[in-house]
Symmetry: C2
Subunit: 371 residues, 2 copies
Amino acid sequence: MTFKTSSLAARETGARPTARDVAALAGVSVGTVSRVVNGAATVNAQVRDRVTSAIATLGWRPSIVAQNMRGRATRMIGFIFPDLDNPLFSSMIKGAEDVLTRAGYMLIVGSSNGQSEREMALIDLFGQRQADGLIFTIEQESHPAVQKCMAQARFPIVMLERDGTPAATVSAGADHFQGTLQATRHLIELGHRRIALVSGGRDNRVGRARLAGFRQAHEQAGIAVDDTLVQIDSGTAGNDWGLRKTQWLLAQADAPTAVMALGRHLLKGVLVACKRQNIRIPQDLSVVTSNDSDLAELAEPAISVIRYSTYDLGRAAAELLLDQLAAADPASAPSRTEIPTEFVLRASCAAPPVHARAGAPDRLATNTSPR
Amino acid sequence: MTFKTSSLAARETGARPTARDVAALAGVSVGTVSRVVNGAATVNAQVRDRVTSAIATLGWRPSIVAQNMRGRATRMIGFIFPDLDNPLFSSMIKGAEDVLTRAGYMLIVGSSNGQSEREMALIDLFGQRQADGLIFTIEQESHPAVQKCMAQARFPIVMLERDGTPAATVSAGADHFQGTLQATRHLIELGHRRIALVSGGRDNRVGRARLAGFRQAHEQAGIAVDDTLVQIDSGTAGNDWGLRKTQWLLAQADAPTAVMALGRHLLKGVLVACKRQNIRIPQDLSVVTSNDSDLAELAEPAISVIRYSTYDLGRAAAELLLDQLAAADPASAPSRTEIPTEFVLRASCAAPPVHARAGAPDRLATNTSPR
DNA sequence: TTGTAAGCGTTATCAT
DNA sequence: ATGATAACGCTTACAA
């Protein structure tokens, strides 16, 4: 007969108490302790009280790790985002958290930094940790190795702001197509014929949807799209990408009369570029951005935005995940939640300057700024 | 003799393979599998190869849950923040993640929504999940029940942007005292005598440090502080708190000539209030805010800010936690990392209007706005 | 060098 | 109604 750790020992050392300690203190067996905490009907009231007070005395809480060993779900959801240092992430994670907390889940977060290697490492790690599901904003949708990794995952995956793939068919995203379509249409109706589109997302749904909306608006108006005005970047460009792109666009011989800088971090660059070159919004250049912000609202003039709720996006992703978790059938059907977008017209949009419409060579020549 | 799950079964069903499956496939014992994956020196090269390929065939990864059961650290760090839907959270979590990932840890996040009950529930949950540590931005530093809960936690806690408490003596925070001191001094030097301080944090270090810096600057200049100009809020006020407070301050008979709105979310309210009442910055009112942002930088005029890196704050908290985790002595000494602040002077600060200095009753009377 | 078996903290099955 | 015990997947001391 071996000497076992007793509740006495547990109380003396700082060691975490176990059900065995509780059982010893209450003078019952571990099975009974388990029955009490799990609310089994078949427990004598007196025994229940003894156990309950022993639990309180020792401050015992069942080990979730041990419960997981027994096959219980970990109730942990992974969340992989290209860049946690992004205000959009804040509201998305909050939306997801609000939904998942209510259902008893917790979120584990990881930043991929846009690297596929890291995405795969994180998926693998979540697997080892037995996560129950994953909300994933993949960097490159078409990356085969990452897709393979997703396909092998033993948990459901919801794509956030990305398209479903063969490996993960459930997705939540904003309706960038409609938003961009409306905004582009509005600019065209104002008389713009040379509209620039600046956006991230070469290899993901967001960029594709924006481009599609942009093209459709042009097509419906019978206007050809000048591809030099379409600047869709791949990957996480530097912080001053918006600035450099705008400067480049404005330096073209036949510069755009309107720029749609779609992505919250791009607006700053556009405004700085305009300020430096003394370009007036909207007289010289109309501006549209996406993701409403204090800056867009309070800039002088206020900037028109394609607005949508990233909080709702996070909620939607979480809800889709819960649906899949609840579904008895593991191979659930493809599904998608689309969050509506709204074009908010502000003072930054006006008719193009007359000389541009008349085909004047270069507005900047007329309006040289002192650097 | 019972029939055991074999590698065959594991490959046929979708069940996660175990070390036993690997062992069976490789024709070795589970102990050997463990030795191989843990890089034990004493393994025959041929055996190692057989095991390695069996692992690859089955796609086996050791279960972290089972490893935890054996006493291995979970390498999970909790992170409790009052409001995940806050851009500051993004950069803090990113800073922490960068440090912790390198050390093999993952982050579990939870939003307390400013509720002490939820804070305690989360701490408790992290305990049950056997988290190795916690980074915590408590809502009310002095809350006794939460402190007790912290004291009972079996893992080290680092306070983020909060003071150490008896229950958790390690903390990381920005040097709000210096930042506020400098900014206030500058306003005083410009001639301001009635400066308003608007900030959150009635019961935390941030608010206290700001108030202390504010007071010290006044004291050193021999100026009395008018307490009606000091508006330090408790808890997470509504989104329009900055607006309402500014409107209230400007409506006072002896309105301030400068306002320090310390908190990123407050600037918008100040700017809106000024716009609505046709108050010019800085001619009528000087403005200082905290936390640099695109809005502060690009507002017209640009707004002076007390700047500091929330990313560094997250890093610092994580590094302190790693220090504690590495320390053999569990009862480590109190320690604190202070992140420097910097007062960035922009166009929003100027000398107070003449009539205010002459003691004119109400600037608004001279400058009535249409609405 | 490799196999065997105990044990981590639960839960569930089977006796009593 | 309650106790004893096997099992979850892994690591490790000990045996061979």
